[in-house]
């Protein structure tokens, strides 16, 4: 019973501490420091150093005096609210139908419903021009056959429609889960008491899931007001806060002004987050039982048919942009006709010589960020789950805040923090990798947390008692058991980073141009064909990766985004 017999070194005991310390340092340097720099920068005039004497509200005054600032704020609120309303209106009946109506191919439906989330929103944005633009497919159809004129796709109408259809899965998935989880005995009690189906829905079911509806709506709102890709393509002169930030930086390199706009954007997001937290607290009181049960109830055949048709209609419409992108990528001539007149691989041939570099860059940057996410996410998740880190809420907050904050805000924060001062990273690959990591570590953290939560901690105790050091226990017991969840989280990070634009657009340099930047440049250069070909490649790649992740995790694709 001499300790030397086990090869247990004092260093083994220090290892968890060292890793915890490193995690804290990373959080401090790359999460807290940039965000607080941006906060401070927002209160200093452009070009001035941060100091007490320099503090000013001048950057915010623009919101009082500049019409374009006021419009951008108003546009963000208007498109955010309208997109949220539209997404909710589409999702409510759809969620109810999928959860409660005997629906063939339910798993497929759920899987398809997250396609708009998987494919980078801005890639599909241009497809709306093809569909609903001045000479778009639907615009012509409606005008020629029904005499209905659509509003211009550029501006409020287009941004709202594209945002709503890109982000509706968030509210749909939350609602579908809630409808499926409501204790049907409560509804049956109402039915037995004499209430009609409609009355049960109105007086029992909907009130019960109301907090959930609100929670889902807030997620859509947060995503919508943070989106850059869609308004940058469909906005035109119609600016929102993220595009305003972009032009402040790309037009004037006014970092401090951009930081101030970002703070307004952050304030809106935090407001919505606060409301979400409040709702989530009250939500637990509502009688939504955790065990989802088969709640499908018989419905008259015609009604059931309507429900099924509706669900598929929404799915098809929401996935139209992706479909159009693919269609366009294979079209060699498309003018004056409803559909392309000549198909071929010409567009792919044209991009073949140009994508190697950006594709390589995307893979390298996303890959490096994914690796960091995996290590950091797994270690912190384990430390938090096993109570080694005090203040669980603080870790949650640090991980989750960059995840929900608009990408452009993170971009601005990184620019402000790392453009000068002790650590200059602007223009490097490192700054992109770190910003990616900051934005996406939550995916790995959450999936690892869930896996570790389900792991009997006695397994680790048994390993320790058997003489295994902390590192051995990690390597031989914990890691093998949470590997599928880690891998799924990692793939999700990688896939969504391949399609990332809003951070990239602020932080990329000529040397580190990514796939999404290439697509963006093609779109700005009005080379829709090339953009579609590259967009199709990106969509298919991300889709294949997410499908692989869902197989690994043994879960429906939809569950990866819940």
């Amino acid at each position: 019973m001499t300790p030397s017999a086990f090869g247990t070194r004092a260093a083994d005991r220090a290892l968890p501490l060292a890793i915890g310390g490193a995690a804290a340092l990373i959080a401090l340097l790359f999460l807290i420091y940039p965000l607080s720099s941006a906060v401070l920068g927002a209160f200093v005039k452009n070009g001035q150093p941060v100091a007490l004497a320099n503090l000013t509200l001048a950057n915010f005054e623009r919101f009082l005096v500049s019409a374009s600032y006021q419009r951008a704020l108003w546009h963000s609120l208007a498109t955010g609210a309208a997109a949220t309303a539209l997404a909710t209106a589409l999702s409510l009946p759809m969620a109810y139908a999928v959860a409660r109506v005997a629906m063939p191919l339910r798993a497929t439906i759920l899987g398809l419903s997250v396609l708009p989330l998987i494919s980078p929103p801005f890639i599909g944005a241009y497809a709306w021009v093809i569909l609903l633009g001045n000479s778009g497919i639907f615009t012509s159809l409606l005008r020629d056959y029904l005499g209905i004129g659509l509003p211009s796709i550029y501006g409020f109408f287009g941004v709202t429609v594209a945002l709503a259809l890109s982000y509706f899965p968030y509210v749909f998935l939350v609602l579908q889960g809630a409808f499926a989880a409501v204790d049907t005995h409560i509804e049956e009690a109402a039915t037995v008491a004499g209430a009609s189906r409609w009355r049960v829905l109105r007086t029992v079911t909907l009130p019960m899931i109301l907090p959930t509806v609100a929670a889902g709506m807030l997620i859509v709102f947060i995503k919508a007001i943070g989106d850059f890709g869609i308004p940058s393509i469909l906005g035109g002169e119609y600016q929102v806060l993220p595009t305003l930030i972009y032009y402040q930086i790309h037009g004037f390199f006014n970092l401090n002004g951009a930081a101030a706009i970002a703070m307004v954007n952050v304030a809106l997001t935090l407001l919505a987050l606060g409301a979400l937290a409040w709702i989530n607290r009250t939500r637990s009181v509502a009688t939504v039982s955790g065990t989802a049960r088969a709640a499908a109830r018989p419905l008259p055949a015609p009604l059931r048919g309507v429900a099924i048709a509706y669900v598929w209609l929404v799915l098809i419409v929401a996935n139209l942009p992706q479909a159009v992108t693919v269609l366009y990528s294979f079209s060699e001539r498309w003018g004056g006709t409803l559909l392309p007149s000549v198909y071929g691989f010409e567009n792919y041939r044209r991009i073949v010589g140009e994508i190697a570099g950006p594709a390589m860059n995307s893979v390298v940057l996303a890959g490096a960020a994914t690796l960091i996410c995996l290590v950091f996410g797994a270690v912190t998740a384990h430390a938090v789950a096993r109570g080694r880190i005090a203040g669980r809420w603080a870790v949650d907050l640090i991980v989750m805040v960059p995840f929900v904050l608009p990408g452009l805000v993170i971009g601005v924060a990184y620019l402000v923090a790392f453009n000068e001062g002790p650590l200059v990273l602007t223009g490097t690959a490192t700054i992109l990798v770190l910003a990616y990591f900051t934005r996406r570590v939550a995916f790995v953290f959450r999936s690892a947390s869930a896996a570790i939560f389900q792991l009997d901690r006695r397994l680790e105790e048994a390993s320790a008692v058997c003489g295994a050091s902390w590192a051995t226990t990690m390597r031989r017991v914990v890691l093998p058991l949470i590997a599928p969840a880690l891998l799924a989280g990692g793939i999700l990070v990688f896939a969504t980073l391949i399609g990332e634009i809003s951070v990239t657009v602020l932080l990329y340099s000529a040397r580190w141009k990514t796939l999404t930047i290439s697509i963006y440049e093609y779109l700005l250069g009005n080379d829709i064909a090339k953009a579609s070909a590259l967009g199709t490649v990106t969509i298919l790649l991300t889709f294949a990766l997410v499908a692989a992740a869902s197989r690994l995790a043994g879960r429906n694709m939809a569950d990866l985004f819940r």
Partner: protein, 367 residues
């Protein structure tokens, strides 16, 4: 020898600290199977986890063969532990589960194979070596976890409610198996259970815990026959309590007068702690405790009179529930001799076997 001295565990910070284990002391000798018994929340599992090194010690000391283990991490204690949930590594085969502790010790492959084969044979698991834990029955999984704990010849074996997840019949088989293996390996073992029957059956000595304190230590028979407190009498087996007046006594034994005038010369006298003394009814000096099988039931004679409320057959014995004069609650009598049966409602007289009676006194004194 394992020595536990004033072992204490408090959770939370003062003033809201909760003392889960309160100054517990005991010694366990080599080769002994020592059971910590008590109701849930009594501190027995926390004590075991502190001995394992899985729970930081708030106070006191743990020494093994003279070496201080109080702050030694679990990896360096060379202990084997068996968990209630088995805690088998689900991704490793039975062989690899058993080999785990040898691999952490950096043993050579051939030696590992020899040692694992040996321990699997001893536990009759040799046929399952290549199987995954999930494909085994509960009893087999428990044997694998014992194999994993024993393979590296630990200096002690800790078992935390190892049978709680098994069904009743398997539990009885497995406890005999654990006892057999423990004797075969001659290993100092600490066993935690809340099941007093299990504790009686398996242990060399039993330590009874209540509310974080060790209330009594002794051989199973000893604890059963001479419970040191009302709690111990109640928790271990069934106990009948009768109000009693002290009718003289000297040394460890004493005479008690029961209601109705019968005098019992109780073999033991125990003075009650202030907390338990309040359970003695007003007007009595104490309580006479006697086990159901040590009560004689008859139609007449000296004793406490009562009436049979329920008569049930236990197979070998008849169990009578009797509403008796001066009894706390209903009295239970197990009559093993079948020469006479009593119907429900029959008037009876109960007599306590003096040799098996314990007199609990509120306060020791002369009559």
């Amino acid at each position: 020898m394992l020595s536990i001295r004033d072992l204490t565990k408090t959770f939370g910070a003062p003033p809201n600290a909760i003392t889960a284990v309160d100054r517990v002391s005991f010694d366990v000798a080599r080769g002994e199977l020592f059971t910590m018994l008590g109701p849930s929340g009594c501190g027995k599992t926390t004590t075991l986890r502190m001995i394992a090194g899985l729970e930081p010690v708030s106070g006191g000391a743990i020494t093994f063969d003279g070496r201080d283990y109080t702050r030694v991490p679990p990896q360096q204690r060379n202990i084997g532990m068996v968990f209630q949930s088995y805690a088998l590594f689900p991704h490793l085969s039975v062989f690899e589960n058993a080999a785990y502790g040898l691999r952490t010790r950096g043993m050579a492959g051939a030696e590992i194979r020899r040692r694992v084969d040996e321990v699997l044979r001893a536990l009759r698991l040799d046929a399952f070596a290549a199987r995954q834990p999930a494909t085994l029955s509960g009893g087999q999984q428990q044997r694998v976890s014992i194999a994993r704990a024993l393979v590296y010849r630990p200096s002690m074996l800790l078992l935390d409610e190892p049978l709680a997840n098994l069904d009743a019949k398997l539990r009885v088989e497995m406890r005999a198996e654990i006892r057999r293996i423990q004797r075969e390996f001659g290993i100092l073992s600490l066993y935690v259970t809340h099941d007093q029957e299990e504790a009686m059956a398996i242990s060399d000595r039993v330590a009874l815990f209540n509310a974080g304190r060790l209330v009594q230590v002794g051989r199973p028979r000893e604890v059963y026959r001479a419970p040191a407190s009302l709690f111990a009498a109640d928790f271990i087996g069934r106990a009948n309590f009768f109000r009693a007046m002290l009718a003289g006594g000297d040394g460890p034994s004493g005479r008690a007068a029961l209601p109705g005038g019968a005098i019992v010369s109780a073999a033991r006298i125990v003075e009650l702690s202030p907390e338990e003394a309040v359970r003695v009814p007003a007007g009595a000096d104490g309580l006479l405790m006697v086990r159901p099988e040590s009560v004689t039931i008859g139609r007449a004679g000296a004793g406490v009179s009562g009436r049979v409320m329920r008569a049930e057959s236990l197979g070998g014995a008849m169990r009578y529930t009797v509403s008796a004069e001066g009894a706390l609650g209903a009295a239970t009598v197990d009559a093993w001799r079948a020469d006479e049966e009593f119907a429900e409602g029959a008037p009876v007289v109960l007599a306590a076997d003096p040799a098996e009676s314990v007199l609990y006194l509120r306060k020791r004194g002369s009559p």
